[in-house]
């Protein structure tokens, strides 16, 4: 080594403390040093000449620069060494300024000694410094700008002006960001939108700018210059055919707090945030399927018809409720209502009374709407055997598709178990008959009293020319009674008893009746027997003996309550052992059971718990079975466990062309809505079969289930469901009148207004029908796109601090407390009140207004942020000034911590607003109390005078601070850039690199970096754009010398470095010689990987182990 030591006096900064000549004398004694020189400014022209001469004259191969820190002048001396052909690592720095003369200014002797050591250490490390490679990377001449607010747009336009292609990505529906919400801007009080709109237009029209709204950045990988970016475009559900006429908004029933209007006004599910939005196309906010729709077997959009009921549009509601379901009136009465069990409102207080609302719209509108026959378009007739819910639904769907349908029904009435199995008091016959009539009005022919296998055969139907047959015969017979004494006189079967009753007969029952069974049929039978006993002149004496506890489930609670009110006795978990009697029933022998810990569906008997109940009639309701007459004359049909075997996907039986569904088929549950769902699947399957399309699985791909977050229910005020009136208990025993009444229109609207609109868009279809351009497209899905860009600018902005976190201030609890953002919307001519200031509780113009500063800012408690939000003082001043100009009589007081107005013309503006009569009081508020009239009591301590003040105001406005937006937090994670206090993106150096991030090629602008005003955001955006232009204009970039590199011979591929790297610059190769590889384009030379490496394989350029040890151990 031939090293030269160059001692810099730094114009006295160093030589004023350290004596240079003795230091030089010492340096000359060091091993390897062949030249020592002193200069006043070694970084200046003379110093550079001195170095050049020494290299030439003395043949130096290392330069030891004893001066300031490497961070300041490192690049200067590296460049000198590079130009002198000494390589990339020929300079060793001895920092004798910041590390010595500055900090030991008053102890020169110690400083002298320390300087000697520092210089010696640098000479020692210089010996181990070897040349480092650098690589050239070519750059993609395009850029990604994340965030379409004012900063993002400014950066994009600047880049476009330089001829760089820009992808401008915005998460929201429109560009514009926070500035688009402002009424006016300070200090000039000019209209915010007037300044912004031209920028929106020019950005939209710029050929170099590609706008991606409703888009998230999912991944950014690769090196600077050639970043690979993955974008996820969320569906807009509206195509570019949209002309922006707004017809859809007029018909959308869903109203949701508008985030653009800061929650003080509502918007519809299909919306455009503001008139000048870019792009101007509307969008639908859809979070998936609501829980009610997901739970429904036919996926009725319950949220859709509930929203329409809430809007008083009952006819539209009926269209939605009856769309997938021909029996809305029936289901409004007898459905198991899994939608209510799934309803998110249940986590607040009680689920919405969905079934009752459905019944309301179906009963109110159903009878009034005429049904027009469907036109026949297909030649093949279809036969449906069984006119129950499955058969009738299948018939309706096939009729809609244009098929001629014939229904064959063995009973003298259509409707299946709905008509013959459910008593009048629960489902009146005229209701079901009306809905059957609506199905038949479409065109299907109904042939009653036609039993398959007896009056006709399936084979015969095909011979007659039917293209397909659908079997929906149901389970029409009670299961055999597997009990001793089952054959005794007085033992009735529930299915048959109810059928007799519903066909006009009067089954004979005794004075003491026991009903056995644990389901709906048993309960219907028991409640019917009470009425039959009443008609026969007996006092009600009916005991329902349930072998299990299913009826105790919450879904049965209302029915159980009604049954008890009518006088039914219930015994749960009772196992019938024997029906007693010789020829006629005299009683029943039972044994108690108890829940089984291992299988809750199988209770176990309790030994020694036998008991007997006296009875003269026993009604058995323990299951139903298939009447399989139809199988006669149907070759190739297979039965399975007493049901027709069908293919789960195609609904087809083992005989080609014969389909089955409902209770008779081997797939499905035994509820009305499941039967209707089976009918729908059957209709689709038959259509596929007849049209020759491949029989595809009928299990559709469900969209995600939209559920409110855990916090959302907590934000809803409790309001229990509107109770449904019922006929009083004893009174209803006397007849077959329907027990439950229907909601009045007023009750229905009130109940519907409890809906939480879980999925936002309810898919009611009103907009689709209203759109004159046919622009609404529900089939749009998410699209993933990959881009390659040279550089990235992060301009993802801020969000307003949630003032509700400062609970004592009452925001969200007290009606007349707003944030400055909300006030700005109220003061905006384009806002919800057209610029009229009114307080939320009563719409009155407030006369006394208090504004509170630093809400969530400059706050050391855990619910706030420590930083100053920079703009709030002037934002409040602006809004106060606007109020004073519009309402000169208004008294506006601003309670502030310190008034900060450091921007250009800001202080002057503050003084002007003071002169306009706005009062400023220095003091913070502990709590804001609401009085009965909605006014607000504010207590504060005036910290100028030390006096406590208390005032009552009409309106309080909170200056909620600025926080990093969710987009900023997300992009920081995706891009791998560091964030600092408040979640804002941290710049690479607060002074020297204020728009760089710690990832090369990525820059930050606007409030994503920290709170700032609009001009500051734009200035920073243009600075970031200039950095990108500078980077991309050369076409290539060189990697740094100070990057890490792994030695594959030593590396054990443990992966510690991969995990440690904050830049994601390290990866492991695969195979037998797996080792770590550092991408020098990405590495920023922090050295964390080298420090973590357990074997020493990973070394950082300029800071190898040898260099560091030599320096540290001299």
């Amino acid at each position: 080594m031939r090293a030269g030591v160059f001692l810099c006096e730094c114009g006295g900064n160093i030589s004023g403390v350290v004596e240079m000549e003795p230091l030089a004398a010492h340096a000359r004694t060091l091993d390897g040093v062949v030249e020592v020189a002193i200069d006043q400014f070694m970084c200046g022209t003379e110093g550079r000449a001195m170095i050049e001469k020494a290299v030439e004259d003395r043949g130096l191969d290392r330069l030891v620069i004893a001066s300031c820190s490497q961070r300041f002048q490192g690049p200067t001396f590296d460049r000198i060494a590079r130009e002198l052909k000494l390589g990339e690592n020929a300079v060793a720095f001895a920092n004798i300024r910041e590390g010595c003369s500055f900090v030991h200014r008053h102890e020169p002797e110690r400083a002298q000694e320390k300087a000697r050591k520092i210089v010696a250490a640098a000479v020692a490390r210089a010996r181990h410094q070897s040349d480092l490679p650098r690589r050239r990377t070519f750059l993609s001449r395009s850029a990604l700008v994340v965030g379409g607010g004012v900063a993002g747009m400014a950066a994009a336009e600047e880049l476009a002006a330089a001829g760089i292609d820009v992808h401008l990505v915005e998460r929201e529906q429109s560009l514009g960001g926070y500035m688009a919400k402002l009424a006016k801007t300070f200090p000039t009080e000019d209209c915010a939108m007037c300044s912004l709109a031209p920028r929106l237009t020019s950005t939209a029209l710029n050929g170099h700018i590609h706008i991606h709204t409703l888009t998230d950045v999912e991944e950014i990988s690769g090196p600077p210059g050639e970043f690979r970016v993955t974008l996820r475009h969320h569906p807009r559900f509206v195509t570019e055919a949209c002309v922006g006429c707004g017809e859809c908004v007029a018909v959308c029933p869903v109203h949701y707090p508008s985030s653009y209007e800061e929650g003080i006004a509502e918007r519809t599910a299909i919306y455009r945030p503001f008139a000048n939005a870019v792009p101007s196309t509307f969008a639908v906010e859809k979070k998936g399927w609501s829980p009610c729709k997901s739970a429904c077997a036919v996926h009725t959009s319950a949220q859709g018809y509930i929203a329409l009921v809430a809007a008083g549009r009952f006819e539209d509601a009926y269209r939605v409720a009856s769309g997938p379901n021909p029996f809305p009136s029936v289901c409004g009465r007898v459905c198991t209502a899994l939608c209510e069990a799934a309803c998110a409102r249940g986590s607040v207080d009680e689920p919405i009374a969905i079934a009752a609302l459905k019944r309301f719209v179906a009963d109110t509108v159903g009878p009034t709407l005429p049904v027009r026959p469907a036109s026949m378009v297909h030649p093949e007739p279809v036969a449906i055997v069984g006119a129950g819910p499955a058969g009738l639904t299948c018939a309706r769907d096939l009729a809609h598709l244009g098929y001629k349908v014939t229904l064959f029904e063995a009973q003298p009435v259509a409707g299946g178990m709905l008509r013959t199995g459910i008593p009048d008091y629960r489902l009146p016959h005229d209701v079901i008959e009306r809905e059957i009539g609506q199905v038949l009005a479409l065109g299907p022919e109904l042939r009653l009293g036609q039993r398959a296998g007896v009056d006709f055969t399936i084979d015969g139907l095909f011979e007659e020319g039917y293209g397909a047959v659908y079997l929906a015969t149901g389970l029409q017979k009670s299961a055999e009674v597997d009990l001793p004494g089952g054959e005794l006189e007085g033992v009735l079967r529930a299915v048959e008893m109810l059928r007799e009753l519903n066909l006009g007969g009067t089954p004979e029952v005794g004075e003491r009746v026991v009903v056995i069974g644990g389901g709906d049929v048993a309960l219907d039978a028991a409640r019917s027997v009470i009425r039959l006993q009443n008609a026969a002149g007996y006092e009600p004496d009916v005991t329902l003996v349930c072998p299990d506890a299913r009826l105790r489930l919450p879904t049965n609670a209302t029915q159980m309550k009604e049954a008890r009110e009518e006088g039914l006795d219930l015994e749960f978990l009772m196992q019938p052992l024997e029906i007693l009697g010789t020829s006629h029933v005299t009683g029943i022998k039972l044994r108690r059971r108890e829940p089984n810990a291992s299988d809750r569906r199988q209770p176990v008997p309790v030994q020694g718990s036998g008991l007997e109940l006296a009875a003269d009639t026993v009604v058995v309701a323990v299951g139903r079975t298939l009447v399989d007459d139809f199988a006669r004359g149907c070759d190739g049909l297979e039965l399975k466990d007493g049901q027709i075997r069908i293919d789960r996907d195609t609904m087809m039986t083992t005989r080609e062309g014969v389909f089955a569904g409902g209770d008779a088929a081997s797939v499905g549950l035994h509820t009305a809505i499941e039967a209707i769902a089976a009918g729908r699947r059957g209709g689709a399957a038959i259509h596929d079969f007849l049209r020759g399309t491949q029989l595809m699985p009928k299990c559709e791909q469900r969209p995600p289930r939209a559920r409110p977050t855990a916090e959302e229910p907590a934000a809803v005020e409790t309001c229990r469901r509107i109770p449904l009136a019922v006929i009083d208990g004893p009174g209803r025993r006397t007849g077959w009148r329907e027990v439950r009444r229907v909601y009045s229109a007023q009750e229905a609207v009130a109940e519907a207004q409890r809906c939480l609109n879980c999925a936002v868009c309810s898919e009611c279809g009103c907009c689709v029908r209203a759109c004159p351009s046919g622009a609404i497209d529900w089939d749009q899905t998410e699209i993933v796109e990959e881009l390659s860009v040279g550089a990235v600018i992060l301009a993802t902005g801020h969000k307003q601090f949630d003032a509700a976190r400062k609970t004592p201030l009452g925001y969200g609890r007290h009606a007349n407390i707003l944030t400055q953002g909300q006030l700005s919307r109220l003061l905006s001519a384009a806002g919800p009140t057209a610029g009229e200031l009114c307080r939320p509780s009563d719409g009155a113009v407030p006369r006394r207004i208090f504004m509170l500063q630093c809400v969530g800012s400059r706050d050391v408690t855990s619910s706030g942020n420590q930083h100053c939000s920079a703009v709030c003082c002037l934002f409040a001043t602006l809004n106060a000034s606007l109020i004073k100009q519009q309402y000169p009589d208004a008294e506006v007081t601003i309670g502030y911590t310190d008034l900060r107005a450091p921007g250009k013309a800001h202080e002057e503006y503050y003084r002007l607003v003071q002169e306009r009569g706005v009062r400023y009081v220095r003091g913070r508020v502990g709590e804001i109390l609401e009085e009965k009239d909605g006014s607000l009591r504010v207590r504060l301590e005036d910290t100028m005078t030390g006096r406590k003040q208390e005032g009552v105001y009409d309106l309080v406005v909170l200056s909620a601070g600025l926080e990093a937006s969710d987009g900023t937090r997300d992009i920081a994670r995706v891009a791998g850039v560091q964030t600092g206090a408040g979640g804002f993106i941290r710049e690479y150096h607060p002074k020297l690199a204020p728009v760089d991030t710690q990832r090369a090629g990525m820059f930050v602008a606007g409030t994503a970096q920290g709170p700032k005003s609009i001009p500051d955001s734009i200035a920073q955006a243009k600075a970031a754009a200039a950095r990108v232009v500078a980077m991309l204009s050369s076409g290539y970039t060189m990697t740094a010398a100070q990057v890490a590199a792994g030695d594959p011979e030593i590396c054990i591929a443990c992966g510690v470095c991969v995990d440690a790297c904050p830049q994601m610059a390290v990866h492991l190769t695969t195979g037998t010689d797996a080792h770590s590889v550092v991408d020098p384009n990405i590495c920023r030379g922090c050295g964390i990987c080298a420090a973590e490496c357990p074997t020493g394989a990973m070394q950082l350029g300029r800071y190898s182990d040898a260099e560091v040890l030599a320096e540290a151990t001299v």
């Binding site: 907590a714 925001y811 609890r813």
Partner: protein, 331 residues
Amino acid sequence: MSARFTKTPDVPRTHGGVLLFRSCLVSGEYPGVEASTKWLFERLGIEYTVHPEQTCCTGLGYYADLIPIDTTVALAARNACVAVDDGHPIVAYLCSTCYAINKKARSILTVDEYRARTNAVLAKVDRCYDDRVAATVQHRHVLDILWGAHQSIPGLVRRRLDGLKVATHPACHYCKVFPDEVLGSSEDYMVPEELLMPAGAIPTGAYNEKTTHCGAGFRQRFVNPSISLAVTGEKLRRLAEEQVDVCVHMCPNCHVQFDRYHDIISATRHEDYPFVHLHAQQLLALALGADPDTVLGVETHSQNVEPLLERIGASTRAPMAGAAATSGGGR
């Protein structure tokens, strides 16, 4: 627009190792609070002990300027030693004054000089507040422990509180002395209400003057009764505006101030405050089936809580059939 209340985050369940720190005010004024707490610990399967060597925290004496800080810190150190040496290092406080003063002593005892001076005194009773004790002892309010077991509560409810509107009076010495260590929000403390919600109670959440103190102010209640009771009265008026049925407490000092003076303030201000005061553990134990007489000890209350008990079917005149009415007690 914003949350009705902020939900309290879940915390790990405490299974055992709890020393139930007895409180002078609880034992002297509302012994049912201690009995209810023991009853709840047993019902929820939380192993605990009551230690005969535990002494008073001295809080009342300290705040009345009767006891010097050195004495308070020495006793806090000794009580921490008692808990740790007994294998019950999780000290659960019934009273927020005990809670805060012991926690404050813990921070004082991080200073070497204070610790050395304290240990010099403790040496006389063969105790030493060393690093082992400092690192092991935990100071928690009883409600912290109960919140850890809140997921078990829905399955244990035996008396519904449907329709009962409850509001929390947050204890200052729990919420304001160590605000960063409060479960959930120190400005909108919700644990008592959230514990009672599974039984059907309606939470009030934040309300006007929620964070205002009870007015007791230790000796202020006696030396400046007009100011003390004016504060209490203001709070009673705000609670009445919220139409609450029960104001739930977490500190016996607040409980005394409200329960003992409720009717007096009502009479002197000619205002009706139609609600009662119960300690959080009392109402929770009631919902879980505890006997109002033998467990809650409602006969020690100044207010008549019988109408409330009747409303939820827990009248002392007609004890609930089948309700386990154990009287608590140590392990």
